[in-house]
């Protein structure tokens, strides 16, 4: 088995710059591309429909499934001349990062761009681990037609790359109205053209409660990062969101209910393996669906069924809280230009050597023998969640602890840019966010930061 790729494009890139113009034109009958992304190598996930490719979304529920059509994002990327190099191993339905290799294609330069379904923060955590940039766009900007996920109201097609410029150009192509995705709102895509950022005029907010749950070492890293921003002339403003801890609750309740509903389609009728030996139709469902889902997703679906069928009130309560959190977040983002959030433990645990070599301040960054970082190490006994990290999604609780710093944006639909650590800039990895549709400005901010990182303080 290929260690990174679940499927490699059988048509190799031809001509200069990998753009398989002719191969695509003849092989797939696509119109000639407009060349805007010519030369760009794009890796996707097994949950992205590419016509003729195996597309199992990392789940036995779709084992052997071969896509009949291109996802809208794929069709647009091809139309702009990008070359699809393959799909990367991913977690079941792209939920979490367990068992996948998300980020590796970009980190090892097999691809310029990776498309990553961001349901709970996957793109940002993977970017952190790979030491690359990642942008989760505003919810509703990118068509979800042809993307297979579990949580329709929260999942977004995010973009990983070593280059913010490539992310910008990719977003220009894949965002915007799509007649095939009826859930897209009638909104104008943000302005992605580059714009100047004057740190002296920019205020960046920091939510106190978002740091509360951080392990001590990460807290220190984050404060060091903020200090680096201040040194560059940005104004920092402390803010408060007392309900911050409820993001996880809302995500878990709403996410599981939507997942339970969305996974109803995996019934072994139109696709997916059918378990043998069913005597009737109900048994066919029970047996096939018993085999379709891994234990982690299965427990999520059963939890969703519990809220749907036995505690529907809890689902409605969670949606009420969601409304409040969205409102509060809007209020906070209206008072500053951007918000900064901790950059997730980029702790290179489990990442092959070279992952995050440059992260300052030891702490969680060193590889441990077991490949699991010694979280909550000396100085912070019992403070940190003891959940296992990468590669060991043992429980729902563990996954929700793993993504505790990222999932807020899936609940609110805000865009988030992850910038990797900058040894030169004295900064750890950091998440930057703004109001919905601030994607373009976020990229501009990111470019400005990377630029000053390069120059040094």
């Amino acid at each position: 088995m290929d260690p990174i790729f679940f499927h490699r494009n059988p048509e190799t890139a031809t001509g200069h710059g990998h753009a398989a113009v002719q191969g695509h034109a003849t092989g797939h009958g696509h119109a000639p591309d407009d060349g805007r992304l010519r030369g760009l190598k794009v890796a996707v996930q097994p949950g992205v429909a590419v016509k003729g490719w195996p597309t199992d979304a990392g789940s036995h529920a779709l084992a052997g499934y071969v896509s009949l059509e291109d996802a809208t994002v794929v069709q647009r990327l091809r139309g702009a001349g990008a070359y699809l190099c393959g799909s990367i191993h991913a977690a079941e339905f792209g939920f979490g990062l367990a068992g996948g290799r998300t980020g590796e294609a970009v980190r090892q330069a097999f691809a310029d761009i990776e498309l990553v379904l961001d349901s709970i923060g996957e793109s940002r955590v993977a970017a952190a681990r790979a030491g690359v940039c990642g942008l989760k766009p505003s919810y509703g900007l990118v068509s979800r037609f042809g993307l297979i996920g579990l949580i329709p109201s929260m999942e977004c097609c995010a973009v990983l790359s070593r280059s913010l410029d490539d992310i910008r150009e990719t977003l220009r192509i894949i965002t915007g109205q799509d007649g095939l995705d009826f859930s897209l709102p009638d909104e104008e895509a943000p302005d992605f053209s580059s714009m100047a950022i004057d740190p002296g005029k920019i205020t960046i907010g920091v939510i106190d409660e978002a740091q509360d749950a951080l392990p001590a070492t990460e807290g220190e890293e984050f404060r060091a990062s903020l200090e680096a921003l201040r040194r560059r002339g940005f104004t920092l403003q402390e803010m408060s969101l007392p309900d911050f801890s409820l993001f996880s609750l809302v995500h878990r309740i709403v996410g599981s209910v939507e997942a339970s509903s969305a996974a109803g389609r995996y019934d072994s009728v139109r696709y997916g393996p059918r378990a043998p030996g069913a005597k009737n139709w109900n048994e066919m469902y029970l047996l096939s669906r018993a085999a379709a889902f891994g234990p982690f997703v299965k427990s999520y679906l059963i939890q969703g069924a519990f809220f749907q069928f036995e505690r529907y009130g809890a689902f409605e309560d969670a949606c009420r809280i969601r409304a409040r959190l969205v409102r509060e977040m809007r209020r906070l983002t209206s008072q500053v230009d951007f918000l900064a959030f901790p950059g997730i433990d980029g702790g290179a645990a489990g990442v092959p050597s070279g992952g995050m070599a440059g992260v300052p301040s030891g702490g969680a960054s060193g590889d441990t023998a077991a490949g699991v970082p010694a979280k909550g190490g000396p100085g912070s006994p019992g403070e940190a969640p003891s959940a296992p990290r990468y590669g060991a999604q043992a429980s729902l609780r563990g996954v929700y602890a793993e993504f505790a710093s990222t999932l807020f944006a899936n609940v609110t639909g805000q865009p988030v840019l992850y910038l990797p650590s900058s040894p030169g800039g004295g900064r750890a990895g950091i998440q930057l966010t703004g109001p919905r549709l601030a994607d373009g400005r976020l990229l501009a901010l990111g470019e400005s930061l990377l630029e000053t990182d390069r120059k040094g303080d």
């Binding site: 009949l68 859930s183 878990r252 139109r270 939890q303 069924a305 036995e310 809280i321």
Partner: protein, 706 residues
């Protein structure tokens, strides 16, 4: 107005012209001709047109008439008159007259109807309303409106008429109508019982009767001699299109009788019942033994409205060179066939080979099907070259083949498979080739059923029930071979391939009864436990007796030619055994269950609370149709425990906001285009490419039922 003066709409005739009448009923249909208002007034008897005209009615009455709507319940007074020439409506019985209304009382108004009740057009030649396109569940949900439709009303009144015929006839023959209990003990009828918990005797149950079998025999022992009952029976069986959980059967039992007198009685009764529907089956009804029916039609309820008899041709092929037939014969198998006279134009090679031989015959259990078409004095087929001319000649004479005929044959090592597959092919072909005449009614008695059937364990079981008398009494109850040769004194009445009823002469000798139980392998203890109270009665001079039961819903449905038995039942269950009108069956309150001692049935050994948690995982597993393995249960239990905690926190933090289901502004979407089109992936068949199982261009799924 005084309702005692009321006359029926449908009874008015031209003799009533000039008479002032009081009518009451429902507005069936309504036309407003600007000032002149016509209404079809409907009551149970029929429809008459009433007219509101400014010339005969006051302004105020005309105004109120203008506000009438369908199914308003009204009373009117007016004068009967002849319609103007050219305005008669031959679609209704009172179509030559109308009533000029002078008074109107709206007794009650009606909401907008869920479906049209009216079935009669107001103008001759116009289309009339039909309920055919209304979903049956909607009709059942508003059954009281459905029953207002004349066709349903006619069905129910005809049912009444048939029931009255039964009562009058049986009364005239000295039969006494006696009711037997509905709360009773489980009887050995073979289907599942509906159970009724007893509050006074916790953990004990009554069963609703599957038939009054034991009681009617006890009535014979009680000296009633001739009994009948239109009995409601209950069977908790798997769903089938034409089956109801509760049904009505005409139950008859008589003493000092034999088969002949029962045939005579039943035939006379059936002829009178069918006469209500204008049908007169010829008497005496033909009879066939079970063996004859199976041999010639492949069914124990043969449809005799058409020919197509099965012919055994095993002997034609004893020395055949055709490998498939030879192998079948070497294994002791049989070869039988049918001659479809003159059908070769309608059964092409393609249809015979690709539809019947490859798809249809295998679906009836046959491994294959051989066909031959006769033309130009020869038999043609894809395999005819494997047969000798002697074999072909013998086939021609055995089937009396003429040009244009089509022969089909099935060969199988199991004679039962041959018979059953050909029997089903016979029906399939008859329907496809329109060989079944519309208005034929062909009753037949099927007799001489085997008394026993073999069990897999090498013993025997009753084909009917263990109280059915055998054709002889001198058998050895230990000799299974001999037991399987016994015939029963049972009989079925079959009409047009449907079993309307059946019965038997019962065992009235306790020694013989004991012998039957011995043959069935039942010990004395088992017999006593199951039938003790019943057998005890046979110790006190039981008379020889026998009887029969007729399924009344099915019989009435056949007489009235309705597409389903639900059309002749006032408030039936639907195909899912649910009553859409009342919603039954429904869950009941915990208090009710507690009162009946049903709360912890079957879970007494389990620790308190544990069972409920187990149940919850099972319930969620079932609701979401996701099987959960034993080793996964611990994780699920932990997940649900956490979910409970989450629910608590959510409740405590919910606040007052309206729930938010999406973070983006909602947008209404119309799919572009107005012309329906077929999905390209469907047209090319690609849509089926990822399906685990496909048949004939459809996704194939497991059967809904086992």
């Amino acid at each position: 107005m005084r309702f005692s003066e009321r006359v029926f709409c449908g009874r008015l005739t031209s003799d009533d012209v000039g008479r002032r009448v009081l009518l009451a009923g429902w507005v069936d249909a309504f036309r407003d001709h600007g000032g002149l208002i016509f209404v079809h007034l409907r009551d149970r008897s029929g429809i008459v047109q009433i007219v509101f005209s400014p010339e005969t009615a006051s302004c105020e009455v005309c105004q109120r008439a203008a506000s009438l709507r369908s199914e308003y319940c009204v009373a009117v007074k007016g004068e009967v008159r002849n319609r103007l020439p050219g305005t008669e409506n031959p679609g209704i019985e009172t179509g030559t007259i109308e009533v000029m209304t002078t008074e109107l009382i709206v007794l009650s108004e009606s909401d907008t109807l869920p479906f049209a009740v009216s079935e009669k057009a107001m103008v001759a030649g116009a289309a009339s309303g039909e309920a055919d396109h209304v979903s049956e569940d909607l009709r059942l949900q508003y059954r009281y409106l459905d029953i207002r439709r004349p066709s349903m009303r006619d069905n129910l009144t005809s049912r009444h008429r048939i029931f009255q015929t039964v009562r009058q006839f049986l009364d005239s023959r000295g039969f006494v109508e006696i009711e037997t209990p509905a709360l009773t003990m489980s009887t050995p009828e073979g289907a599942r019982d509906y159970l009724v918990p007893s509050r006074l005797h916790p953990r004990s149950f009554y069963a609703l009767p599957q038939s009054p079998q034991l009681f009617k025999q006890l009535l014979m022992i009680g000296g009633i001699e001739r009994y009948f009952q239109l009995a409601r029976c209950f069977r908790d069986e798997d769903l089938r299109p034409n089956r109801q959980p509760e049904f009505t059967q005409l139950d008859i039992e008589a003493s000092f009788i034999d088969e002949e007198s029962l045939y005579e009685l039943t035939e006379e009764l059936v002829v009178k019942m069918f006469a209500v529907g204008g049908i007169s089956p010829a008497r005496p009804f033909p009879r066939m033994t079970y063996a004859q029916a199976m041999d010639t039609t492949g069914s124990d309820r043969p449809d005799l409205r058409f020919g197509l008899r099965l012919v055994d041709v095993t002997d034609v092929f004893t020395e055949t060179g055709y490998a498939i037939f030879r192998q079948v014969l070497e294994q002791g198998g049989r070869i039988k066939g049918l001659n479809l006279k003159g059908q070769s134009d309608r059964l092409s090679k393609n249809v015979l080979q690709n539809e019947y031989a490859k798809e249809i015959a295998p679906s009836f259990g046959a491994k294959g099907m051989t066909w031959m078409r006769a033309g130009n004095g020869r038999l043609e087929s894809n395999i005819v070259q494997f047969f000798s001319s002697r074999e072909l000649d013998r086939l021609r004479s055995r089937f009396a083949v003429d040009d244009g005929d089509v022969l089909i044959m099935v060969a199988d090592p199991s004679p039962e498979v041959v018979t059953s597959a050909l029997g089903q092919l016979r029906l399939h072909l008859a329907k496809r080739l329109d060989l079944i005449p519309d208005d034929a009614f062909c009753p037949v008695w099927i007799t001489d059923f085997p008394l026993f059937e073999p069990t897999e364990q090498g013993g025997v079981t009753s084909s009917h029930h263990p109280f059915t008398a055998p054709d002889r009494t001198d058998f050895d109850p230990a000799d299974v071979e001999e037991l399987l040769t016994l015939r029963s004194r049972a009989y079925d009445l079959v009409v047009n391939g449907e079993e309307l009823g059946g019965g038997s002469i019962r065992i009235s000798d306790r020694g013989l009864q004991r012998k039957i139980f011995t043959a069935l392998g039942l010990t004395d203890e088992e017999v006593n436990e199951r039938f003790g109270f019943f057998l005890r009665a046979f110790d006190f001079g039981p008379p020889p007796h026998g009887g029969l039961a007729l399924g009344m819903d099915r019989t009435v449905s056949m007489i009235l030619r309705t597409p389903s038995i639900r059309e002749v039942i006032a408030f039936p269950k639907n195909r899912s055994a649910v009553c859409p009108l009342t919603g039954a069956p429904t869950p009941v309150k915990r208090e009710q269950l507690a009162e009946l001692g049903l709360l912890d049935l079957g879970s007494r050994e389990v620790l308190p609370g544990a069972a409920e948690k187990e149940d919850r995982i099972d319930r969620l597993s079932w609701l979401s149709r996701i099987g959960i393995a034993a080793e996964e249960r611990a994780v699920m239990a932990e997940t649900l425990k956490q979910a409970e905690e989450l629910a608590l926190i959510a409740a405590g933090s919910a606040g007052e906001d309206e729930p938010m289901y999406t973070v983006v502004p909602l947008a209404n979407r119309m799919r572009p285009g107005t012309v329906e089109r077929r999905c390209e992936l469907s047209r090319t068949g690609d849509l089926l490419k990822n399906a685990p199982s496909v048949k004939n261009g459809y996704f194939k799924v497991a059967g809904i039922l086992e």
